[in-house]
């Protein structure tokens, strides 16, 4: 038997005369609470560093003269602690009375901890004079600031500075004048606040509250669910009254530990936006489909008429059936969505494969991580992440490349920033300097399009300096010689002028990555959305393999997933060449298995991908589509092309919440349900399968997506009878072996379980590839990459490089977030980020309207200065339909992943002097 180290043993002590134990690291306050004794406390909150400033939690320790703050005192063996002795109580009450005299009597929240403790300790109106109170600050659209309720406990400051690491809140002045400030005492709305609301969640008195007094309304119910936005997969709670969400609070989920961002916390009222579709719509006869989108989503009656569900479904399925029967299944295609649940994705692909009779089913992962997935499958046999975000706590070196995590994966970024603060080496590599770079030990602003040069130069260094993990290479990989030969010509010195990073810096970072006890790599769309996206990812994989930085905690490869269910939608088979669980459709044995499961014969040919489907429509090979929750008329590259294709379809069925740009081309629109209106599972970037629970009823006649898919299926001749979501999930579990141990009932009790998980008592595998890789022989493969340039390089006519992406407040094509009042109030207008010197050279100023033109289109947006860009680089978020960045982008594809080059095309920029600002 191994001895338990002294520090890991519980401590015995006397609590109010009772013998109790404290676990290692537990404070008196925490241990007491675990034993049913609640000591008054205000400045202490679980998850935040104990600060001991309010003194409400003082207790008497026998033999000690001063009272001890129980929130930051670790009990010692045999200590005798009195929590309610006369001295302790007197002091606790005095603190509460003094604090009570500091605040006004107005109640800002039903859950004021100060009021609760004051009542519990029977404190009347305080005897002390009130202090001078600051004015209320209503400058932020989501957060009401009433510092006349503030007790300066600094929970908000710790939440902002230490937990979320946004560093906006400070503590100014001193003594009786001390107060909480934003930046340099700015109003919150004009400060650098990112609206994550962590301070609101931390505030014990209501001094910081959701706007519109949401904290004063008693909810009918609270429902535990999952955030509908990015791939981080934060668990949250909806507070609901009268079928409306009052507010959202973060839950202690494994990926967020109570944290949320501005979208997750304040971006929920899109659900009740007046544009919400509540009745099925059918295109009026004789209304042509134009590539100029002019329909008013608030009143589409010029183009569409309302219809009953029966009529709409018959018409929707009938049109598809007619094409199938006359022209064959290959003339049809479906786009599922990474925003829907696993069950929806699974049923949708099953409908296309078994009802349409084709593998033409894809979704937006094609536009985000298709290249990464190809490289990962080819190299290590699995497209999912090897390690979870939480592993940054175990790592020693963290590389984040081509990812603006602070805006696109805000809560994941907080854990990266926590790691950086804890002294880990954070390396940020990105042509555009983003917020995360401020926290980095190394920031490498390489030239756009030169990822392979930079990464090969790192590998060159690692090999040249003998930093490879020889044993790992020999035992677990193949093809190292290919890499060795390939990178021989990529010395840092030769690559310095190519990628713009000093050779010595490349060498330092390479050494750090190779020699750290654990190194992780995170990447985003900056890596994947290039015609060499697959090559970029191959280099990252090769780096991890040659240094053995994979297969252990705190190591590995993590392509950050963009949407809440990209991982799950891919797992569920919304991929034209793969059945669920990445089983290739052209594999005879696999196909037979699925034919047995689904009881029909299946198409042996791989289907078409997103952009190929558009090409096939224009080539007259494809005539009908069913699009569920996707918006290709905004998200595809070179939108003119995509919109022409959509307009050319004989029959288009769109299932969505709103009349999106894509729905404008529909023949029939089926009103669907938002995430808070449904129950289903969603798989986050960490491979965690998480349960969302229905909190609201859909408005009007809008229906559950799962019901709609089944109604469509029945009309296409499939006899489907799924009684509930669980039934779909359980069938999907038969198709996806890695979910074997995750039953529906387990999800109902545990909310979040990591796959692969083989049995009910298997806790799941946060770290995979520990012994082997899921390739045919268990061995990983090195695949070398050469330097390839972007498809369209800048020239004299189009001298700028356009990078597209997202903003913190807006998600994907903006269909939801631009209809969320808070988010739209913060970022209401289309912007183009320009380097300040470029803007001066253009004779423009911040706020000017700029016209941006590429060979494919032209848009107009407001100039925003961004010193994080390099000269001759511009950045445009793609969520603004009035200035759709994808009208400009290039549809050139990566040959392996078929992903378009969203991150690089040539444009020209000029100040628009004609349009009125």
């Amino acid at each position: 038997m191994t001895a338990v180290p002294e520090s890991a043993k519980p401590t015995s002590f006397l609590l109010d005369g009772r013998a109790v134990d404290a676990l290692p690291g537990e404070t008196i306050l925490q241990a007491a609470r675990r034993h049913g004794v609640d000591i008054p406390h205000l400045c202490y909150k679980d998850g935040l560093r104990p600060d001991g400033n309010c003194r409400a939690c003082v207790v008497e320790v026998k033999g000690e003269r001063p009272l001890a703050p129980s929130c930051c005192r670790i009990p010692q063996e045999g200590m005798e602690v009195a929590t309610t002795s006369e001295r302790a109580r007197h002091s606790q009450k005095m603190v509460l009375e003094l604090l009570l005299s500091d605040v006004v009597e107005t109640t800002y929240t039903l859950g004021s901890e100060l009021e609760t403790w004051a009542r519990a300790l029977e404190i009347d109106t305080p005897r002390f004079a009130p202090r001078r109170q600051p004015e209320p600050d209503a400058s932020h659209p989501a957060i009401a600031v009433n510092l006349d309720a503030c007790i300066q406990c600094t929970r908000c400051q710790r939440a902002c500075r230490e937990e979320q690491v946004n560093d906006v809140i400070g503590y100014a002045l001193r003594g009786s004048q001390a107060k909480i400030i934003f930046d340099v005492d700015d109003p919150m709305g004009s400060s650098s606040c990112v609206g994550c609301g962590e301070c609101v969640q931390a505030c014990p008195t209501g001094a910081l509250m959701p706007a519109k007094e949401a904290g004063l309304i008693e909810p009918d119910k609270t429902v535990d669910s999952v955030c509908p936005y990015c791939g981080v997969g934060c668990l949250l709670t909806y507070h609901v009254k009268d079928n409306t969400i009052l507010q959202v609070t973060g839950r202690d989920g494994p990926s967020n530990h109570g944290r949320l961002c501005v979208k997750g916390r304040y971006g929920f009222d899109y659900i009740t936006h007046p544009h919400r579709l509540t009745r099925p719509l059918i295109r009026k006869s004789g209304i042509p489909k134009s590539t100029e989108i002019t329909i008013d989503p608030a009143d589409p009656s010029d183009v569409f008429r309302e219809a009953s569900w029966e009529e709409a479904l018959d018409f929707a399925a009938g049109g598809l059936k007619k094409i199938r029967d006359e022209k064959g299944g290959q003339a049809l295609a479906g786009f599922g969505s990474a925003k829907g649940s696993n069950e929806e994705a699974y049923l949708f692909q099953k409908l296309v494969r078994t009802g349409f009779g084709t593998n033409n089913v894809d979704h937006c992962t094609r536009l985000c991580h298709a290249s990464s997935v190809v490289a990962l499958l080819e190299g290590i046999g699995s497209g999912a992440v090897s390690n979870q975000v939480a592993d940054v706590a175990e790592a020693e070196c963290i590389i984040v490349i081509g990812s603006n995590a602070s805006e696109n994966h805000p809560v994941a970024a907080t854990f990266m920033k926590n790691a950086a603060k804890a002294g880990k080496t954070l390396v940020v590599m990105d042509p555009r300097r983003t917020e995360l770079a401020r926290h980095a030990s190394y920031y490498l602003q390489f030239k756009p399009d030169t990822d392979v040069a930079l990464l090969n130069a790192m590998m060159h260094t690692i090999i040249e300096e003998g930093l490879v993990h020889q044993e790992f290479i020999e035992q677990r990989t193949a093809g190292f010689d290919l890499i060795k030969q390939n990178v021989a010509g990529f010395s840092p010195e030769e690559m310095e002028p190519v990628c713009g990073i000093a050779a010595e810096t490349i060498r330092e970072v390479a050494r750090r990555y190779a020699t750290a006890s654990g190194s992780m790599i995170f990447w985003g769309m900056g890596v994947s959305q290039h015609i060499h996206g697959t090559d970029n990812a191959r280099c990252l994989i090769a780096l991890a393999l040659m240094t053995g930085q994979i297969g252990r905690p705190g190591t590995g490869l993590h392509p950050l997933r963009g949407q809440n269910n990209v991982q799950g939608a891919s797992d569920a088979g919304l991929i034209p060449m793969m059945f669920p669980e990445y089983q290739r459709v052209d594999n005879e044995e696999v196909r037979q298995r699925f034919e047995a499961l689904w009881g029909v014969s299946l198409d042996p040919q791989a289907g078409l991908t997103v952009v190929e489907i558009m090409d096939a429509i224009l080539d007259d090979r494809l005539h009908g589509m069913y699009i569920m929750g996707e918006n290709p008329a905004m998200s595809d590259p070179n939108l003119h092309h995509a919109r022409q294709a959509l307009a050319k379809l004989d029959h288009l069925v769109v299932q969505d919440l709103f009349l999106t740009e894509t729905a404008a081309f529909a023949d029939v629109i089926l009103p669907a349900s938002a995430l808070p209106e449904k129950t289903g599972t969603f798989t986050n970037t960490d491979r965690r399968v998480q349960l969302a629970r229905k909190a609201l009823d859909p408005p009007g006649q809008a229906r559950q997506d799962l019901d709609i898919i089944q109604e469509m299926a029945r009309r296409l001749g499939l006899d489907w009878q799924y009684h509930d979501t669980a039934a779909v999930y359980e069938e999907m579990r038969q198709a996806i072996s890695a979910l074997g141990g995750i039953s529906w009932s387990r999800l109902e009790s545990q909310d979040s379980v990591t796959y692969p998980c083989w049995t009910e008592d298997d806790p799941g595998r946060p770290v995979v590839f520990q012994k082997d890789f899921p390739t045919s022989d268990g061995i990983a493969r090195f695949v070398p990459a050469r330097l390839i340039h972007a498809d369209e390089l800048p020239d004299a006519e189009f001298p700028f490089v356009l990078i597209t992406g997202r903003q913190l407040e807006h998600w994907h094509t903006g269909a939801m977030t631009r209809r969320a009042s808070v988010l739209n109030a913060i970022e209401p207008q289309p912007v183009i980020n320009v380097h300040p010197e470029d803007l001066t050279a253009l004779d423009g100023a911040e706020g000017d309207l700029l016209t941006i033109a590429s060979r494919r289109g032209e848009i107009t947006a407001y100039a925003r200065v961004d010193a994080g860009l390099q000269r001759n680089e511009i950045f445009i978020p793609f969520c603004y339909q009035e200035a759709a960045a994808n009208l400009l982008t290039n549809e050139a594809l990566d040959p392996y992943g078929k992903i378009p080059e969203f991150k690089y095309c040539a444009v020209r920029v000029s100040v628009n002097r004609t349009a009125e600002a």
């Binding site: 500075r161 560093d167 906006v168 809140i169 400070g170 503590y171 100014a172 002045l173 001193r174 400030i181 934003f182 930046d183 340099v184 005492d185 700015d186 650098s192 401020r438």
Partner: protein, 168 residues
């Protein structure tokens, strides 16, 4: 950039950095340099200091506002600081404060309209043996009486006036 250290101050700042283990540790001398250069610490100056030290503006503001000797508002050319701690008060400091308020037409904490004098009460200046003491900018004036203080003020006002007329 709206606010930036002059080349000379920046050189001093670089020198300050060499004396501390981290940038954060150099915050007080850096704020001091900033006050010397700009006269007071405006929000823009604090943001510049935050930028130089890789700190958040809120952190810098928190430190700067903790110390009364960092000025958050523009100060007069002559900062008259009257010690009103125990020894000085026993020896008549309050009378000096009152006669200064009368003479300058401002209250403690204010600056004259011509931006020549700012008046403050301060805690012990560490010169109890020569109480009452006033400090004008960096200079001590000891064993003060209302009369001697007003004489000093008149002299400073004269100097300021001649400086402004000769300068114009």
């Amino acid at each position: 950039m709206a606010v930036q250290f002059s080349e000379e101050t920046h050189k001093q700042f670089e020198d300050v950095l060499t004396r501390y283990p981290t940038k954060q540790a150099a915050i007080l001398p850096t704020l001091w340099l900033a006050q010397t250069e700009f006269g007071y610490l405006s929000p823009a100056v604090m943001e510049h200091v935050a930028d130089l030290l890789d700190l958040s503006p809120a952190y810098v503001h928190g430190v700067a506002t903790f110390y009364t000797m960092f000025y958050k508002e523009p100060m007069g050319k002559c900062h008259v600081q009257v010690c009103t701690n125990l020894s000085c008060t026993l020896r008549g400091a309050e009378k000096i404060v009152h006669c200064l308020e009368d003479r300058l037409g401002v209250k403690v904490g204010q600056t004259t309209g011509d931006k020549i004098f700012s008046l403050s009460e301060v805690e012990c200046l560490g010169s109890c043996g020569t109480a009452p003491v006033i400090q004008i900018n960096d200079d001590y004036h000891e064993n003060q009486t209302p009369e001697s203080t007003l004489g000093l003020i008149d002299e400073l006002a004269r100097q300021a006036e001649s400086a402004s007329t000769s300068g114009s």
